[in-house]
């Protein structure tokens, strides 16, 4: 168990150093994904299986996919075809493949060891997901609510920032609305006479 921890930690450090020294963003993302998977194995060997699963699912599965999408969206056009042809040559996959092969050997070893009835699964001191959930929805309930509000704000903000540019809609729907409001003298019935017919 100790050696598995140290090997996974070494893989995490090596892949993180390689991730921040690459010049190409896609290469760096590959090494960063390997780094996150290695950290997940480290979490599992430290006795935190819930956090290990969440690291794989959310960090390596959701956040890194977001990064890959944005990197792929940022280089469109003819230059991107060249760079993608360069990416598919196979040479850059060797480093991440070797590191993740080490990780999968460790995962196979850990699951095989946990399936054996005689040995204790992963030593002592494993914090089960049940304990984490009880504490999360007990004393830390206000934190959960705050996190939900933060995520809602992030969703609304990301949608607002990322929508396509359309400054025209407001002008089209509310054309002359200020003028008609002034002319109607506050009458709510006649206030909307200047609106275009396709206004919602």
């Amino acid at each position: 168990m100790e050696s598995v921890f140290y090997i996974a930690g070494g893989v995490a450090i090596i892949s993180t150093v390689l991730a921040i020294t690459r010049l190409n963003a896609v290469h760096a993302l590959l090494y960063l994904i390997v780094s996150l998977l290695a950290v997940a194995v480290v979490f599992y060997t430290m006795g935190a299986p819930l956090v290990a699963a969440l690291e794989v699912i959310i960090y390596a599965g959701a956040i890194m996919v977001l990064f890959v999408f944005v990197v792929m969206m940022l280089n469109l056009g003819r230059r991107a075809v060249e760079s993608e042809r360069q990416l598919l040559q196979g040479k850059i996959w060797v480093g991440p493949s070797v590191l993740s092969a080490l990780l999968i050997v460790e995962v196979v070893y850990l699951t095989a060891r946990a399936a054996l009835p005689g040995l204790p699964g992963s030593g002592g001191g494993v914090l089960e997901p049940k304990q984490v959930g009880l504490a999360l929805y007990g004393p830390y309930l206000i934190g959960v609510e705050l996190a939900s509000m933060l995520l809602l704000g992030a969703v609304v903000g990301a949608y607002h920032l990322g929508r396509p540019k359309s400054g025209k809609a407001e002008v089209r729907y509310d054309r002359n609305s200020d003028g008609s409001r002034a002319r109607s003298g506050g009458s709510l019935v006649r206030a909307g006479v200047g609106r275009t017919p396709d206004a919602p």
């Binding site: 963003a25 780094s35 006795g47 960090y59 009880l134 999360l136 933060l150 990301a158």
Partner: protein, 77 residues
Amino acid sequence: MRRNLIFILMSIEIMLNAAGVAFVAAGSRWGQPDGQIMFLFVLAMAASEVAVGLALVLRLYRHHPTLDADAISDMRG
């Protein structure tokens, strides 16, 4: 000094992940679930931060077709 915006966001992720590793290690040292709970909060914060940050990067890239953080230092409103 590298000033690529994508690398800046990736490095923020690495630093937040390192803080999470420290939390989980401390929590498993004392056998308490509080470290893992702090990691969950860090995870939610990192997810929302990267969503807003990447949306900002896309929006900036639409105005200035560059990813250099210094090239957009002349913004005026």
